[in-house]
Amino acid sequence: MSFFQALTERDRVFDFMTPQASTVDVRHGPILYMEDVTVSFDGFKAINKLNLTIDDGELRCIIGPNGAGKTTMMDIITGKTRPNEGSVWFGSRHNLLHMNEPEIASLGIGRKFQKPTVFEALSVFENLELAMAADKRIIPTLTARLTGEVKDRIDEVLETIGLTALRYQPAGILSHGQKQWLEIGMLLMQRPRLLLVDEPVAGMTEQEMERTAELLTGLAGKQSVVVVEHDMGFVRSIARQVTVLHQGSVLAEGTMDQVSSDPSVVEVYLGADDEEAA
């Protein structure tokens, strides 16, 4: 159809927004670029002049005490919260501050919530089906058929997250851990360029943790991954680059060892960390 028709069609997601053909420009290195971002909730600055850069394919861990602004930062990136000032760029082309959640999501930014949220009334299979990267306009969705490769893709993911057996069970009956898995699985279905993972191992057993670790490290490279986590052990096991947030701005950045040897960090964070790590 002609370009103008395309413009007038409200449901149309323009090609450059759909992840398959995602034209996120990463030639200049960073895939995510936050500069001087500030958010205040009635006076209280949750994020304060935050600067953060994530390179393409990087796996970055973000740590920090409660109220450091980790979750708020994710809200900003995914378009849930609008900052009072500052700029947030995805690649060097897309200004995230001018987009809403669905647009950002279809740019290829996937998010896993702190509290696992899956569609309990739907089966595991359907949860993945919905998450799958596809044309998400109304009519295509209405007429969508389950093609072979789609099924294979879903099976594959089911395999990775180890829920093949439960594929037709409503997600509501899954255990907490399984829900975490399912949600990560949903992220995988999205084929995102950037993955935001909020406390992926909260309430997981040891071996579950290990698999998560493998999984996330496995993702890195193909996708950029940002992990927010309290569990130091876990962080240490996966982290290459670590950023420490404190009172809404970056306190320190570097490898785990550098960071953990940084006195200010030790003071504000690791000191208070023990009981959280436990």
């Binding site: 449901d11 809403n100 999501a105 569609f119 359907e126 089906e129 306009r137 109304i138 037709y168 409503p170």
Partner: protein, 377 residues
Amino acid sequence: MWLTRPFNERSTQIFLLILTVAVIAVTVLHLAVPAGHPLYVSGYTVGLLGKYLTYALLAVAVDLVWGYLGILSLGHGAFFAIGGYAMGMYLMRQIGDRGTYGDPILPDFMVFLNWDSLPWFWYGFDMAWFAFAMVLIAPGLLALVFGWLAFRSRVTGVYLSIITQAMTFALMLAFFRNEMGFGGNNGLTDFRELLGFDLRSGATRLGLFIASGVALALGYVVCRSIVGSKLGRVCVATRDAEARTRFLGYRVERFQLFVFVVSAMLAGVAGALYVPQVGIINPSEFDPIFSIEIVLWVALGGRASLYGAVIGAVLVNYAKTVFTGVMPDAWLFALGGLFVFVTVFLPQGVAGLLGHLKRRRDDEPSDSETPDKEATA
């Protein structure tokens, strides 16, 4: 094709089967059996059942938005009524110069209220195709505008329910005004013929009854194929976790809008079939109470299971027929009691019970929770 998908679902097959049998049975019993015979179905009963069928379609429409989208609309009576008015206006124009005053153009109420000419919005309603199109377009348009405003600004839950109520209430007041040109309190009545068939003949009424049956079947299939599709699952997802669905990249408000409009159109069709069967349309159909009653039908039958809505509509209205006949005073007690009972003790409704029994028999989830596998696979 997605529209054919429902025909593979067992629940739909059963539903369509029962409906067809019912309609045919009534037709046969009405025509073939001599009056007075115990099996004879009188024209009165046919009319009654026809009315129930239109209500059932209305209930299905409400269930689509409430059950699967989680939008409790307290204003669906409005779409029903508007569809009805569209049909009513067509029927008025059909009277032509057979009106009391013999005015070839103006309906009677306009003549004796001294309207000198037909208001613009009555134009075109003398043509069947236009009127029937309007049956879909008018309610759809209202739903589109209203829904667009509401969903865009993410008005949800109780707030949405209340403003839908405000909408239908405002419309009721508006249509009561005689200046509006819709006949005020008396509404539209004294219809003569529909597509050339005399509305006062038993045959036409039977035809309308069958038409209602067909409409219900079609409406059911459409809704089924929507909720059975991926889109239906997006709806359920939205109902349960709207924010999450957004993060998956779905433009939730547009899906809501789409389904809302479809539902409104179905309601319009129901209204259009209702009017010629009861012979009058007046603003009391806009009454918020009526809209709430519709929701009760669905609640009783069971949300998120379309056939439940049908069961609910028929049960409640049959009960109404009986009660207002036998003990008028008791009716409101019964209705009120039903509201309380269903919401407190029967949250899944009748369909919920059925599903429960079914599940107990063979351990597969009833399609009210997850769409059938044969649809998905």
